[in-house]
Symmetry: D4
Subunit: 248 residues, 8 copies
């Protein structure tokens, strides 16, 4: 039952066409989600400037092209994450305006580039191997209307490189830190800034990194109080949360 | 070398009392941290309204009383977390104005109660056993100058209880979700609000909860994009991050 | 908004006291859970013959006595699980009709002993150390209105003891299997009966049993297709599910 | 020794052709399994309407074709699970009436479509990536004589989509829930229905999902009491157990 | 149905008192385990010289005294493992002839000291902290009729101490190796002897020993081909298997 | 220093050509391993009837052909384990008398087929997928001079199939049990026989089998006292230990 | 701001061209790392004789060729680790003087072969499968100016082979031990020498080796006090640390 | 056979009292360890200045007093680690010159305080809770003849505190880093110094620190090449290795 139907029902009650008991019964069983939930979703999308995201992993190229095509009809900005090269090639060929990021596999349709974030978001990564995850975070945050500061290759084993970027870091309203191996970067960064730090463990490493577990545990145990953590390699999630914080 | 010493050195250079080479040598080796780092720390504390936190676990009652006593001389608000009953009894007896929270073991000296947070912070917990962790989050957020909405016992297995609190939840600028066992609450809450959600896995459960690991993994894999995670039972960290986000 | 309020609103619409737009607005925002959710819960309890269960672990004796006392006012049967001896002593002293099971720590108030289950539930355990968990399952199933067959000490290393109980097992409509150590019993039982088998890994064992993990993994990998699994030591859960299946 | 041989022996005893001691000796050592065990198996198959299942994983296409061919001579319904495309292509080409389900790799020969289940089985899945596992559960339940309600894409992060399907869910006599990532769906569903819920963790996810471990642990720790769990991606097992419960 | 009943039935058949069909039916359903299974167990006990073992862990002192007392009526040798000091004190006080081993908590009643093992069993341990486990293995093997060579404190980090005992080791027909920490001893011993080596990981260690997991994994991965492994701290199991091998 | 050199030195001492002090010094530093260690190895090989085993995994076909060729010059029986098809094809083509076992990848040169084992070795496996591991065990045991009884597809979920083979099992002097998934077979077999049982967990399974971990833990926690365990999929190790036990 | 700029500034202060306040401001904000940090790095490289290492894993052949080419302009020795064959082929073809080590995938440009280490470094490995990791350690140590003693195939299951190399081992100033499977070698070697031993667990093994975890845990729990550990398969790290110790 | 016996044998050979063959046989079988191994051990102790260490954990106070008393007769310096307060009280009361360190439980007899280390050893710890482990490392290193620089409370979340100690750190010839929680300190320190860094993970933390596992994994994955790792809380091992490196 949508709003129109509810209005129609109430008008029938007013006109006497429907009795109170019958109306009561219909209202009681009406799918409550029709009362605005979907709109909430819709509003949230509009408010965020990024109506929909397509998670490419596990979908076929056909599916991704079809879904993205449909989304592009009603949304200005669309983000596809985790595509593979073949899928990306299809998307870029068939959907105009696609911007492809080969390292992370992200594809962006960025037609509304209004900056809505209130400050800058810094995306920091420890080593060059972490760049794909950082790129996913950056693309997500940008597409959601944020100015992004990118700081790369500032692992804690070369702490002076991090310190050199202190001024840049302190400009940011929200900081995203991507690091694999020992995952120590968010603690160091967290101690340098007073902004919230979103830590992204990456699966970079070998042996006892156990595909990112070492970095994940390290970040969860950070002695810096301003650090929260997302899933291993979840650049998208970090970019998304940073964007909604930066909108506050 | 602090700023005064540096100024004095430069004046000696100007006056010729110190040669360029000697000055160069002294500047080169000066502990750079004297150039303002400590102040940054100090400023941060002032800005946050909560200068210092004492982590009680692993300290003796004597140590905690001494440290807290000293901090109270220079800070209006002091928070002690993870005390045990004997330690708490000592603190309350010896330090006036102590407010003790027996479930979480937190003790608060809350002399400046100015609200500085820009919105409300909701602290939601899944079951009554999660309340100690939620309490630590709430006490932390409050002491840092925030109005807190407390919503308890709204686990996903009774989803209607959560839905009943939808309006309350949507009032919050930041949401903290504490849950043990399967840790599913942040996903459900994350889907209902557009605010950032900070998930706190708790060690509540038995058997295959593995002391909070199940909840932790669940939260890290949340399908809601606005969820970030802190360490198991880390109510303090969640309250802290929520507070710095709410100040933005 | 409850049903009375909704009826009143609709009558106001009919009488013209409230306009359609105003009514629409109020309906749209009414807390949908008032439309019957709580009743569903109430009905379920009545239908199951066991209105409430108190999980004793982590509560104080005072809390348990208070909660159970209140529940006993409106429900015939009440079950308290995971009490410790001191808590149990309090409950038994203060609440008449309490039946205490020291091995599992369960306490039962069993005032309505109608059998509502359609068949028998067999509770099988591998070794004598598994009996506490089996007892919790049995007490739960009984209190929910079921006749329980108890078969003890039939581990797979003495397969003939299990085979001797084949006739008993085949009488059961649902089978609960509790086993620690290697957790092999559900596979053997699952191959002998065509009824659904609910496997309960127990934390019985040492060393590489890892507090029930070995048994849990074994049961999840059972080559018998009629086996499902609950949490380690979760006798209550097994008894509960067996009871709702036996009611079908 | 089969029944004929035993009868013959007893007749020899009656006629005096065999002495009591000799007969006693032979009976004592006779392979007891000849006394009806195999028949039990046979009866069970007939009673279930699905005599045999072929687990395709790890077999060659030749083996699967041969086994399935033989089974089809004596059974009306045969189910092959976990085939790969090449194997499926062979089976479909060589064995008429094969119905192939590419997402799950299941192949079904469904010649007897009598509905023997007493109610409906709901197969619910959290996201589109969980559909292959849900499909395996559905195909299994259907082939075993059940009507299946399929509810897709109702993850807890969009709880209203789940609530929209409440009526459908409450129609089911048994519910199967397939979910990867945080595996929270069974808790939410378990709280909405009073039917038994069989939870299937899927390996959908990345990073800290650890190939389904996060979902598995979440489900084992469900705070809904009517939930039991099967192995990761074990749609077949869930469908099988649901079918035997629905036959009760 | 026991042998007497079967004989009686067959005699009834011979006499015509029971028809073939009726007899057939009774034989078909007779509990097959009555045909000698229990005797097998009894024979095995007699053959092994150690009729029963009581696992003390998790039992009360009362239970252990009662069980052991009953066993001593029919068996010459009885072994109780994993007692605690209070339990041991009770057993020693109430049951004459008890021999108590405080390090391992084992108690032995060793009334028949016939050596039935065909060779010697060596029990080797890496460090002094492993002696409790080694003692349990030795007491078990001795009570089962074996001569035991005890070799202590020969960890691989002092390989010369192990080499000094080479002659002793080579005298053994079966070798038991107890080691905690890195668990390397079985590999070194396995390379020095051609006898079968039973490795017992112990929970000795701290930190990354994870309560014996490190030693367990090390032993399972031994590059010596003559090594098999039992559970962490399972001295009893090692002694038992060594004894049955030494009887071959 | 080999034996000839030592003899020569002693003769020089006797003749006075070398002084006692000088001789003492040389003996003290002589590499002790020259005093017969290598011979010990050689003797062991001769005594076992299987001088050398080549572990194919991780070697090139060239290496395997070269090593095996050299071994065949001095040993009658050679076993190559874990070859892949391409490597096997090379070995079979270039080395006459090679016997290839495609399921396990084992290749055997079995020129001396004398039976030296004192009894039979039973190799039991739970399911058809465990056959490759069982085959490796059987080939190893046979090549080491043993008669092997092969019992397949007797998983505990069809316990009657195992019981049908009870007589066969009880003929064996040593039993090897290969099982994946829940790994329950060794417990059931261990309870049926008094012979030592060597359990081989296999990596057969999916999901929560974690590549054989579930079976491994199950076997380590077996409640049957006569069970020891080797590494996951280590059919060779089981066959080797069974052979050296059967030689006792 | 580098040293020249700072000198220039101080001279401007002395000359009065810059005021004290302005100078103070510039010094306060000067990137402190310019005060010698980079030089520290540069000096360290020169001092170590190996200015830069390229970690090939995860880079493209183009990237590796470009980076190595640039490094070769300013450094005499360059080491590339973890290349794959295709990448190696490119590097060898395009960059003269490349020395390729196919087992480990290392490539070395070794133009300055001065020995700077004060003693010898022994690189010991347990089995032939560990050689690739040992080779990476050896190539690293050599390229950093050390003489390396290579001792192969001395696993603890053949302890005499290790003992035969005692003299060689005792010559080394630092020992590197590479071992997979049970990882016992460092304990045995650690007990034989008084030099520091750097243990490298390798991922050699199968089943319960869990990709090197068993060896890693074993080494961390070594009962030899002179053992430290690096990551699984981290031959480079071991060679690097050995080299800096050998330079002391 | 000790040296005297060997000399006597050789003299018998020279005198003709023993034939060459008989002597050859005796030498061949002589326990080689008598040829000086024990002396090697003795020499090593003398060379290190610390003859023996007593690991107190798991020993009784009586045992520790007895062992330490005996060692003090022949060694100047004795170190007892991991005592508990009661044990320490006994040792201090009964053995003069005992120096007790309550935080780590170490007890030292330090009669020879000669500095034999060639440089300084820095012992750095991240937080105050790590001090017990750092203390054990420091006491060990000191007792082995080293000057120790102690740097405390320099966690990476306050990187400026670490940088303030840069000069001190760079003075050290070997650095020990103790850190719990995320264990990031060794990476930061490793990047600042060119000395070898021995990382000690501590069990400080809660929740996802998993008793030091997070710190251990972090350190094993350190991106600083000069870091090696010892077991969790193994301050003794770190001090020991640092001491033998500092002696080079």
């Amino acid at each position: 039952m949508n709003e129109e139907q509810l209005r129609s029902l109430l008008e029938d009650v007013r006109s006497g066409a429907t009795g109170v008991d019958a109306a009561l019964e219909r209202v009681r069983h009406m799918p409550f989600e029709d009362l605005g939930f979907a709109k909430v979703d819709h509003h949230r999308a509009l408010r965020h400037g990024m109506p929909e995201v397509v998670f490419g992993l596990g979908k076929t190229a056909d599916q991704v092209v079809a879904i993205a095509g449909k989304l592009l009809e009603r949304s200005e900005n669309v983000l596809i994450t985790r595509t593979n090269p073949a899928m990306a090639e299809r998307v870029v060929r068939e959907l105009p305006e696609a911007e492809y990021f080969p390292m992370s596999g992200a594809i962006r349709f960025w037609r509304n580039r209004t900056i809505t974030g209130k400050g800058k978001i810094a995306v920091v990564c420890a080593g060059t191997s972490d760049i794909p995850v950082a790129e996913e975070a950056q693309v997500t945050a940008e597409t959601m209307g944020n100015e992004v500061i990118s700081i790369q290759d500032v692992g804690v084993a070369g702490i002076h490189r991090l310190l050199q970027n202190r001024t840049l870091l302190m400009e940011a309203r929200v900081v995203i830190c991507c690091a694999g191996m020992e995952g120590a970067l968010p603690s160091a960064v967290g101690g340098m800034v007073s902004a919230p730090v979103i830590a992204v463990p990456t699966s970079v490493g070998y042996g006892a990194s156990f595909h990112g577990l070492a970095a994940l545990l390290g970040m969860l145990n950070s002695c810096a109080s301003n650090v929260t953590v997302v899933n291993i390699d979840n650049g998208f999630g970090a970019g998304y949360v940073a964007a909604i914080i930066n909108r506050l």
